[in-house]
Each structure stands twice: as structure tokens, then as C-alpha cells.
């Protein structure tokens, strides 16, 4: 059979499309649960890519059914790897969801920006520092202390 160019293209673009959709979802959506879902989609794309790497025309699943002459089999290694990757993905997603549950309980929001704001405030409060948000009166001491006009006058020096 002549390798079908379109099939190849379709499969690859499906895999990459999934990754792209996932990435776009991660960038675009603000709701964290959606972002986790987007991550799942992207992972699916990567897994698909991995499986495609082991695909072989005219081959059967890598299970020995008859002894003696073996038919052509697809590469078993990517399959094993995908199996691993999927389970890893599941673990991470479950963890992500459990964290999201807690966040929702604490902050009552899953919006990315609101979450970040609240987190920042909490970190600052724990550390005991003022939050450095105001552009008008930036906080923080300079290592080279600025010399005030009055001090300059008092020293009588300017150079």
C-alpha cells in the first residue's frame, strides 16, 4: 500500500492540534479548572504524538499469537511509554483537582488573577511586609541611600 500522505498529515495535525488547543486554552482561560482540562487536552496530544512514533504500516499489535514466523508488529516501546505517560497524567490531574478544591474553599474563587492577588497578599501578610503594589510610592530601601536635598545643603557639598 502506498503511504497515504493525507493520513500522515491528518494524524500529525491532530496531535499537534490537540497540543495547540491545550496551550491556547491554558493561556486564554482564566478559570483554573478549565486550565487543568486544557492541560489534559495538551497531554493527549503529546501522547498521540508518542504513539504515532511507533506506528508501522501493515503491522499488527505486538502480541505473539503464533510461534515461529512472526508477522510485522508495531513498535511496542511507545505503547508502553504512552501507558506510563497516561497514568502519570492521571495522577497529576487528580492532584490538581484536589488542590483546586482546597483553593476554592479558602479563596472562593478559581479565577487565575484573583487567586494570584490573594496569594500575594497572603505571602506579604505572613512575611510581615507591606505589599509592593503602588507605583506612586514604591516601597523598599535603596542600598545607596539617596541623599536628600536638605542633607546636601547641610553638608554644604554638591558635586
Amino acid at each position: 500500500m502506498i503511504p497515504d500522505l493525507t493520513l500522515e498529515l491528518i494524524l500529525y495535525s491532530t496531535a499537534l492540534g490537540l497540543v495547540s488547543i491545550g496551550l491556547a486554552g491554558l493561556v486564554l482561560s482564566r478559570h483554573s479548572f478549565r486550565r487543568v482540562l486544557a492541560l489534559v487536552i495538551a497531554e493527549a496530544g503529546a501522547n498521540l504524538m508518542l504513539v504515532l512514533a511507533g506506528y508501522r504500516w501493515d503491522a499488527v499489535a505486538p502480541i505473539v499469537t503464533t510461534l515461529g514466523k512472526q508477522p510485522q508488529m508495531v513498535d511496542p516501546v511507545p505503547q508502553a511509554m504512552v501507558l506510563t505517560a497516561i497514568v502519570i497524567g492521571v495522577g497529576i490531574q487528580a492532584l490538581a483537582v484536589s488542590i483546586l478544591i482546597r483553593i476554592h474553599q479558602r479563596y472562593h474563587t478559581l479565577d487565575r488573577n484573583e487567586m494570584a492577588e490573594l496569594m500575594d497578599a497572603e505571602i506579604a501578610a505572613t512575611a510581615g511586609t507591606a505589599r509592593d503594589v503602588s507605583q506612586e510610592s514604591p516601597l523598599g530601601e535603596r542600598p545607596i541611600p539617596p541623599i536628600t536635598g536638605s542633607a546636601v545643603q547641610a553638608r554644604g557639598g554638591r558635586s
Partner: protein, 491 residues
């Protein structure tokens, strides 16, 4: 004997699985299991280091000859980092006892096991698995501080790390599709023919960005400040000190063995430079100790990335020296942060109440900025002489940025030091974690003592590191060690 090396990964895993069960029946026995396992691991690795013949060797897991099965590649560099992992795991062991102890300790064991695996593994996909295990156990441990901020920091880290994984996996898929193998030695053999092209480069960059998340590579390191600020200090110390270095090690290995393209080093160099700039400048304004250390860590890792981009043996030496130095210093500093906690303003006059801590801070800071007899100087010296020797003007920029960053670093570190030595304490310093206050100071002193010991022995250590670097840099040695006979099926 060599086979026992496997125990350094297997035993922590076993311990982690059994720990919750054992602890349920006997807490007293349970608390000693983790330290015992890690101590044994240290002993194995130390023994190997002392009694080994200095030649790298390879362990085939499951007895399958390397290109087919997975192998551990043990050279001096791997051994060094594996040992550091076990040792730091022991030092930063979460002793705290409460209802979550079993899980926390189990996660810590997993973290150590996987970090060791990351240092030793010789298979691309296996590295990915260990990398993910590091990630997941890290998430658990960060979130274990159970503040809202920690949860948010974790989820942000998790998502970023997740995208990183996707990209890494994608890169691995590309490489596998191209070469049909995952073994690093085998890949190294094939790379000049098959990966020295756009595809190989794209795969590497995807992996770089993916693993870079952990290695605090410039634009994907935004998790760093918040995670280090919210996680327990001991964990932050472990993460900043060790885990980032291991990710760096993986990148270094891939770069050395497989991806020799100049574009690859250029990308690393540029991102490293940006990392230095962003980290050090951000640290300059930081107002609490943890975040300052986190930003400074980003800057330091940027410096190490610059070193990674250096092509030859002295470059590897610089990476090793800088990594080990930073490991020592940052761990110590985070321990001090644990001891003090909180905002920098509260440190005013602190040296009077706790002179040891003040002295340690100054010592660490001096070494960090590269005050000569201290080891930091030698690491930086190696780096800059190597940087200056490159013809590409980009390296020159790297050199200048590095120098500038050091000035800024000195400025903000000694601003803190000066504050500490101010005569009048304005208020009583709040010790953040009362139960670990003494412990963390002791730990910090340990690192301080280590630093001084290294200072004294800098000459032999430098030579030893040079040998390590030479070994790590030798691609042929790697291939020969792992693939003892050429593969029949090679096309």
C-alpha cells in the same frame, strides 16, 4: 557492589510505600526508617566513591543490555549529585511530627529516590518519569504547608510544570520517531547522523523548556518566588539547592551527549542571561527574606545556565563548581530564613541578639558574591575565564551581565547585613518556626562549617572536580561504557 547502587533508588521507594503502614503500627520505628534509608544510601554512595576505581560504569536494570533495557550510568558527576541528594535529603528530613507525618515523610522519600534517579538514569524516557515523580512529590510537599497561598502557588507551579511535561514528552516523541531509541548512549552514537538537524534541535528545545521549569530557566521560572516563599523553608532549601541543579544536570547531559548544535547553546545562553538579569534585579527590591533568596536563586541558576552554554571541559567544571557552591550557600541561607522568617525590616539589629546567625549570613553572602578565598570566588573565576575565552560576542555580554549582577547581588545582600548589624534592635525578632528554630540554625551552621572546610581544601577539591568534569565531558567514554558491544540491528 556496583549493583547495590540500585538500592539507593529502590530502598527509598520501598520505604515510602511501607512508611504509612509501619507508622500506623509503630510511630517510634517509623520515624527512623527514612533517615536510616537515606543514611544507608549515603553510605553506599560514599563507599562507591571512595573504593571505586574512578571509572564510570553502567548498571542494566532488569539485566537487559543497555540499548534495549534501561540503564543507570554512574560516572563521578552522577555519583556526586546522587550523594548530594541523599545527604541533603537526610539533612532536610521533615522531622516534624503530626498527623501528616507519614505522608510527608513518604513524599520526601519519593522525592529523594526520584532525584537520585534523575542523577543516575541513562534513558531519556526514564528521566522523564523520574522528573515527573520529582514534580508530583514536590507538589505534595509544597501544598503540605496548607496555607491558601501555598495551594495557589502549587497549582500555578503544577500547571506550568504540566505544560513543561507536555513539551518534554513531545520532544521525546520527536526523538524516538527519528531515531527509534531512547538510550542516551545510543542516542549519543546516533546523534551526529540523525539529530544534527532542525528536528533534533526542536526536540531539544522542547525538552529544554520542559525541564527548564524545574531548573528555573528564565521565562518559565515564575513559580519560583511564590513557591519558595510559601513552602516550608527546609523544602525550599532542598528545591533551590538540589532539585534545580538536578534538572540542570539533565540538561547538561543532553547537551553534552546529544545536542551539539551551536543554536542550542545560544538559546541556553540567552535565556541564562535574561535569567540573571531578571532574578538579580527582582531580588534587589525584595522585602522579605524568602523572596529575596528565591529571586537570587533565579539569578544564580541563570549564571549556571550561562556556564552550561560553555562548550568545553572547563565549562562543565564551571557548572559543577557553581552548582555545588550554590547548593551549599542557598541551603544555608534558606535555613537562616527559616530561623528568622519574615520581612527584612525585622532583621534590624539582629546580629546583636544572635551573633552566630549574623556571622553565618555574612559568610554565605561573602561567598555568594565571590569574595576571594571562599569557594564562590573559584567557581566564578572558572566561569569568567572561560566566558572571556569565547569568540562569540554573546558570551561577552554574558560576562558583563554576570559582573553587573554580582554588583547588584552584593548590594542587596549587604544591605541586609548592614541592617542586621545596626546597633539598636527596634523590636524583638519573631522566630518563625519556634520548634525548628534551633534546628535550622544548627543546620545552617553545618553548611557554614562545610563552606569553611571547602575553603581550606579548595585545591584538592578543585582538582577532583576537574577530573569529574573531564569524565562527564567525555562522550566516547559514555558510549563505550554503556554499549559494550555495537548494536547488531543498527541501520
Amino acid at each position: 557492589m556496583n549493583e547495590h547502587l540500585m538500592l539507593t533508588i529502590a530502598l527509598p521507594l520501598l520505604g515510602a510505600f511501607l512508611l504509612p503502614i509501619i507508622m500506623r503500627s509503630s510511630l517510634a520505628m517509623g520515624v527512623w526508617i527514612g533517615p536510616a534509608i537515606l543514611g544507608y544510601g549515603c553510605w553506599i554512595l560514599g563507599n562507591l566513591w571512595l573504593h571505586g576505581n574512578g571509572q564510570p560504569f553502567s548498571i542494566a536494570i532488569g539485566g537487559f543490555a543497555p540499548p534495549i533495557g534501561i540503564n543507570l550510568y554512574v560516572d563521578a558527576m552522577a555519583l556526586l549529585f546522587a550523594f548530594a541528594t541523599q545527604l541533603l535529603g537526610l539533612i532536610f528530613w521533615p522531622f516534624r511530627l503530626d498527623q501528616d507525618t507519614p505522608k510527608r515523610q513518604a513524599l520526601m522519600l519519593l522525592l529523594v529516590a526520584s532525584s537520585t534517579g534523575l542523577a543516575l538514569s541513562g534513558d531519556l524516557f526514564n528521566l522523564y518519569v523520574f522528573y515527573e515523580l520529582v514534580a508530583v512529590s514536590t507538589f505534595g510537599l509544597i501544598a503540605a504547608s496548607s496555607s491558601g497561598a501555598a495551594y495557589v502557588a502549587t497549582i500555578r507551579y503544577l500547571i506550568l510544570s504540566g505544560i513543561g511535561s507536555v513539551l518534554t514528552l513531545f520532544g521525546i516523541a520527536l526523538i524516538y520517531a527519528q531515531t527509534g531509541t531512547l538510550n542516551l548512549a545510543h542516542l549519543a552514537q546516533l546523534a551526529p547522523d540523525q539529530l544534527n538537524n532542525d528536528l533534533g534541535l526542536a526536540a531539544f528545545l522542547a525538552i529544554l523548556i520542559g525541564i527548564g521549569v524545574k531548573a528555573e530557566l528564565f521565562p518559565v521560572n515564575t513559580w519560583v518566588p511564590e513557591v519558595y516563599a510559601t513552602a516550608a523553608s527546609r523544602l525550599s532549601a532542598f528545591l533551590a539547592g538540589l532539585v534545580s541543579k538536578l534538572a540542570m544536570l539533565v540538561i547538561l547531559r543532553l547537551l553534552l551527549l546529544i545536542f551539539h548544535q551551536p543554536e542550542a547553546t545560544q538559546v541556553i545562553l540567552i535565556l541564562g542571561i535574561l535569567g540573571v538579569i531578571s532574578g538579580e534585579f527582582a531580588a534587589w527590591r525584595a522585602k522579605d527574606m524568602r523572596r529575596m533568596l528565591a529571586f537570587s536563586s533565579i539569578g544564580q541558576l541563570g549564571v549556571i545556565f550561562i556556564a552550561v552554554a560553555l562548550p568545553d571541559e572547563r565549562g562543565v567544571l564551571a557548572v559543577l563548581a557553581l552548582s555545588l557552591h550554590h547548593m551549599l550557600i542557598k541551603s544555608g541561607l534558606f535555613m537562616l530564613a527559616d530561623h528568622w522568617g519574615g520581612s527584612l525590616d525585622r532583621l534590624r539589629g539582629l546580629a546583636a541578639t544572635s551573633p552566630l546567625a549574623g556571622g553565618l549570613f555574612v559568610l554565605f553572602a561573602l561567598s555568594l558574591v565571590g569574595m576571594p578565598p571562599l569557594p564562590g570566588f573559584w567557581a566564578k573565576f572558572t566561569l569568567i575565564t572561560e566566558l572571556a575565552g569565547q569568540t562569540d560576542p554573546l558570551y561577552m555580554i554574558g560576562l558583563l551581565v554576570f559582573l553587573l549582577a554580582t554588583v547588584i547581588e552584593a548590594s542587596y545582600l549587604f544591605r541586609v547585613a548592614a541592617k542586621m548589624y545596626q546597633t539598636k534592635p527596634t523590636e524583638n525578632v519573631r522566630i518563625n518556626a519556634p520548634d525548628s528554630g534551633g534546628l535550622s540554625l544548627t543546620t545552617a551552621s553545618l553548611f557554614g562549617a562545610g563552606l569553611i572546610a571547602v575553603t581550606v581544601m579548595v585545591s584538592p577539591l578543585g582538582e577532583a572536580l576537574q577530573a569529574v568534569a573531564a569524565q562527564a565531558q567525555d562522550v566516547d567514554l559514555y558510549i563505550q561504557t554503556v554499549l559494550q558491544q555495537p548494536l547488531g540491528e543498527r541501520q
